[in-house]
Every structure is written in C-alpha cells, then in structure tokens.
Amino acid sequence: MRILTGNDLKSGSVTWWTGSDWSLHVEDAVDVAGSEDEIARREEASRRVNAPYAIDAEMHEGRPRPSHIKDRIRALGPTVRPDLTLKPTDPDIGTWVI
C-alpha cells in the first residue's frame, strides 16, 4: 500500500493522510495508491500540509507500518530518546521500528 505523509506547515509535526484530514499517528493512515499526487497537490495548495509525499507501507497487525526504517523512525520519533517518541511507554515499540 501507499500512504501519504508530510509535515504540518505551522508546527512541523509529521502528519499522515487519513482520507479526510491529517493525523500525527501513522496508524490512522489510509491507502492512497493511485490518487497520491492529486491529494498531495490539493492539500499543499490549501496549506494544510508542507511538502507531502507518498511512501510504501504494509499492513501489520491490522495497521499500516511504513516499509522503510527511515519512515518508521519518522513516524515514531528518535530511537535514542524513547521519552520523546509518540509512544514513550510502549515496551514493544523498538521491534516495531527496527
């Protein structure tokens, strides 16, 4: 599957396209295969997102997981500062990223 990501223009936060809006959580991302360019153009024009682009992902335990490690680190936060990630208390998060 293809999922669409970018950064919030004002805050810079990593965001994911949910089909109707942008979420901080990659689990909310939906498959945009085929319509990625159109959504990216429209959302960038309305300044709801900065520099959006689509990446490869797979379904993992029922939720999208980016295929590449870079996108997984991007989705979660720095592996060397678990306290600053989106899931600071999840003990299994390391295996999800790496």
Binding site: V14, R74, P78
Partner: protein, 544 residues
C-alpha cells in the same frame, strides 16, 4: 569577546524582522515551499525528520554565560529541554515550530546571537580554534580575523546564492584544531620572514561524498588585504562553480577540475582588479575588533600546584585540560560524551551549569569544540578541583577527551532526513564497550568519527577510525574506515572492505583497536601505527 555596537545590533534586528515577514508570507501562502526553503535555510531553519530544526550560529565557537543561558531558555521555552552542539561549533534544536521561529530569533538577538547563514548556499558560520586566545602554542588569537570575515560575509549581496554552501575556518597555530584544510577556505594566520602577520589561504578542501584536502594557494596575504583576497576567491567560485550537479558544486570540485594553479591565477587577477574597488575595511577596523579579544586579567602569581591525590581528579586533569599561555592556568574541557550518552547533546540544566561555571572560573567565557564538547578556556589551576567537583555532580565530568569514547557523531537517522543509518546508537555502543573493557586508557589518543550518510557531517573521512552508515536494501549497514586525520597531519581515511551490521561494526572497531594494541611501537598513536603498518594487518584481522 566581541560585543555588538549599534550597527551590529541593527543588522540582527533587521534580520529578525525580515524573517518574521518571510515566515508570515509562507504561512499565508504567498511564498511556495520552493521559494521559502532557501530563505529559511539562510536562517538555519531546516525541515528535518520529525519537525523543523533550528541551527543557531556560535561564531568561532565563542560564547558567554548570558548567551548560554539564553540558549538554555530557548531549549525550554520552544523545544524539548535540550540542544545539540555540532561539528561546526553551532547548536541545533530539533523540535521547532515555524510559527515560533521569529520569536526565537528575537530572543537570540537580545543576547547578540543569530541564526544567520547557518545553512543555505552561502558563506556559513566562520569556525576557529576552540583554544583561541588561550593556547600556549598559538601565534596570535585568530578570532579577530574570523570576526572581520563574519561581518564581511553576513548578508553579502554577491555571494548569497552560491553554487553550494561555503565554509571558512581560521586558525593561528601550527597545530590545527579546526580541521582547517577540510574547509572550502582554510586560513592560517602566519608571520613572514619580515616579522609581519599575514594569512595563508588554503582553498578547496572538504569532506562530503568527495573528500579533498585543500591546497595552499597563497602563502601570505597581508592582513590589510584579507577581505579583498577572500572576495576574489569567492567571485571566481561564483563564476565557475558547477551548477549542473549539486554533488559537484562545491569549490573543492572546481579547484580540482580547474587545477589549483589555474584557480589561483584567476583569483590573483580578480584580486588585482579588486584592490582598486575599496572593498577592504581600514586596518583600524581590524584593530577595533582586536581590542575585544585582549587577554582577561590573568592573575600574575597564579599557583602552578595541583593536588592530584584524588585519582579520578588526576585522570580528568591529565585528559581534559590543555596547556595555557598564562602560567597557572589551563583550558578545561567539559566532555559532552558520557559513556552511553548522545554525543554533543546537553540539557538546558547542563547548559545553565556550564554557563555558571564559566562565570565563576573562566572569565565568563566558553567555547564550543568541533568535537562537540565545551571548553572553559581560562581556568586557574587552583580552581580546577572545585570545577571538576561541580561537573562530576552534574554528570559532566567524563575524563575522555581525545579518547575512543570522545566520539564525533552526526545526528544520523534518528533525527536527520538525509541520513541512511543511525549514528548515535553506534556511538553509544562503542563507548559502552570500551568503557567496560577498560581499553580506553591503553588506546590513548584515538579519534573515532561516525557519519550516518555520505555527506560526512560526522567527519568520518577524518577519523583515525571512521564509520559511515549506508542503506543496504533498507537495512542499516556500516563501513569501517582507517587512517584519517583532520589535524595538521591531515589525511583521508580509507575503507577497510565490506560493511557490517550494527553489532558487527562495534566488534570491528574493537578488532581494529586490538591490532593496534598488538602492533604498536613505543609512543605511537593508533594513527601512527596504521601509517607504519598499512591496511593489510587490519584487513586480515577483520576479514581474514
């Protein structure tokens, strides 16, 4: 240290207003991201892996306690309570909001700081020797020349859209502590046979994907022509630097392809023309700047005694202090490399402590080292124990300067959108491994440098041992390099062979270290042994 006058202040204030306006136009959609990007980069604002990142300039690495306190306050107010000191003597914040950027720049301007030209295809922050003004071995303090060039390069109308970024370092000692010959322009202040001071120009060095050592193109430029000569160097680069391929756009490629001789000929011709153009500030301006860098009032009879009866203290003194030009003083290095820690990171609390210690013990002055540590340049030997005690209590007393634990590491894939592999976890595991094995002491001076991609922000080409992270079909992989140096014995490291996974690279570093311990002769550093015996014994041990 240098203090702004009303003119300097007016310039940074104008820049704050300009960037507020540019950010506002971006938020309103009047600027596209493509148009905004070079503008925000020229104010040090990147869009990184997780958020906007702001790089704040610390010109030639010098700052006072008020400025360090302001950096700590910014970390708390706008970021997540910490900052990262970089290999070009700057500081980066990783979690910045675009809508806060103008306020941050305004806070910086309050303490005579800025983020001007800390990125973008322009002349970047001028770096220098972190022991400038203190080192026993320097000819003069190089920072007045760096400040002169800082002002010349700030908002330069002709050179703000260069083919690529442009980095300048200035030193004034035969010992190179600023990787001078790995810069686009490296300047060494020298004295000629007539006893006059001048500048030797080294042009076309750099790391990145095509590392080059800068050749000396001019052995002596008189000090009253320094700016004009730099201007000539830049104009020839702006005219001929490649713009068709960003990977070949740095001046090192131009000097290499054109040849140093032809490049120099063109610079000299341009210089002759420019001498009549009134570009050079009067010599009185250099003298004015110099007055800010006069020695503090060192105590004349400062005691030369140190009580080394505490072995932990004695080790820290032996490792983390550097010879000072004034009797009874040393420069003391605060290591930001605790075992298992993140190289170069400091919390806001640590920044405040360092600031307060600088005020108490170092004439209110600090330096950022390109090795991502902090220097208190002027510490009385009599104060060293009190200083060390305070550092120890705060976890800042690691006695590991220039050892294998003193690792340079770029932010890598944990933070950087360009990275291919993580650097920090590798640094953490290596420092833990060597601290646990106790081999750190035996290995002595050993510079280990890690980059998470080919752009080489972690200076891997210049490490006695270098590590380069690459992406091997979506998996992090690490190449090992040996034999680099960024110092006066500058050399570029060579790759040993096939790469390793994360656990494998830590083992490989230990294997290479063991070859050194086995083969070394009396007085040899790792680098010396490598240069004597060559790559073969290391390859044999690693892959044999």
């Amino acid at each position: 240290m240098y203090l702004y006058d009303q003119y300097d202040q007016a310039m940074v204030d104008a820049r704050v207003a300009e960037f507020r306006d540019q950010a506002q136009r971006r938020l309103e959609g009047k600027l596209t991201e493509d148009q905004f990007k070079p503008l925000r980069l020229m104010n040090g604002l990147y869009l990184q892996l997780h958020a906007y990142m702001l790089r704040v300039a610390i010109p030639y690495g010098t700052l006072n306690s008020r400025q360090m306190h302001a950096l700590a306050d910014i970390a708390d107010k706008y970021d997540r309570g910490y900052g990262h000191f970089t290999t070009r003597q700057n500081i980066q914040y990783n979690w910045i909001k675009l809508e806060d950027a103008g306020d941050i720049l305004a806070d910086l301007a309050e303490v005579e700081m800025h983020a001007i030209q800390t990125s973008g295809n322009c002349i970047r922050n001028i770096s220098s020797d972190h022991f400038a003004g203190a080192a026993a071995d320097e000819l003069v303090d190089p920072r007045p020349y760096a400040e002169l060039l800082r002002q010349w390069s700030s908002f330069h109308p002709e050179f703000s859209y260069l083919p690529r970024k442009f980095k300048i370092a200035v030193i004034a000692s035969d010992t190179d502590r600023a990787a001078m010959r790995l810069h686009d322009i490296g300047i060494q202040i020298v004295r000629n046979d007539a006893g006059e001071l001048g500048a030797a120009f080294y042009v076309g060095g750099g790391m990145g994907r095509t590392p080059m050592i800068a050749p000396c193109i001019k052995e002596f430029v008189p000090l009253d022509r320094l700016v004009t000569y730099a201007e000539a160097c830049l104009r020839v680069y702006n005219r001929h630097g490649r713009r068709d391929n960003k990977y070949k756009a740095r001046i090192k490629i131009l000097v290499h392809e054109m040849g140093a001789e032809e490049y120099t000929r063109q610079v000299d011709a341009e210089f002759e023309h420019m001498l009549s153009q009134g570009i050079e500030p009067p010599y009185a301006e250099l003298e004015r700047i110099r007055t800010f860098f006069e020695d503090p009032l060192f105590e004349e009879d400062a005691s030369a005694d140190i009580d080394r009866s505490d072995p932990d203290f004695a080790l820290w003194v032996a490792r983390n202090t550097h010879a000072h030009k004034a009797a009874g003083y040393v420069s003391a290095v605060i290591s930001l490399k605790p075992v298992g820690g993140i190289p170069g990171d400091a919390t806001s609390e640590q920044m405040r402590l360092m600031a307060d210690l600088a005020k108490d013990y170092s004439f209110d002055e600090m330096r950022v080292m390109h090795t991502q540590n902090i220097v208190l340049p002027h510490v009385r030997l009599a104060d060293l124990h009190a200083l060390w005690t305070a550092l120890e209590e705060a976890g800042l007393g690691s006695p590991n300067l220039d050892t294998i634990e003193d690792i340079i590491a770029c932010p890598g894939l944990d933070y950087c959108s360009l990275a291919n592999a993580r650097s920090i976890p590798v640094a953490q595991k290596i420092s833990e491994r060597f601290a646990a094995s106790g081999k750190t002491e035996a290995l002595g001076k050993l510079k280990l440098k890690i980059s998470g991609c080919i752009n080489a922000c972690g200076h891997h080409h210049a490490g006695h041992i270098g590590i380069l992270g690459v992406d091997k079909k979506g998996v992090e992989n690490y190449q090992l390099l040996l034999g680099g140096s960024e110092a006066e014995d500058v050399s570029l490291a060579k790759i040993t062979g096939p790469g390793f996974d994360e656990a494998g690279i830590v083992d490989a570093v230990e294997t290479a270290a063991d070859v050194y311990l086995r083969e070394r002769e009396e007085g040899e550093r790792f680098l010396d042994t490598y240069r004597r015996i060559g790559m073969a014994p290391f390859k044999e041990a690693l892959y044999g």
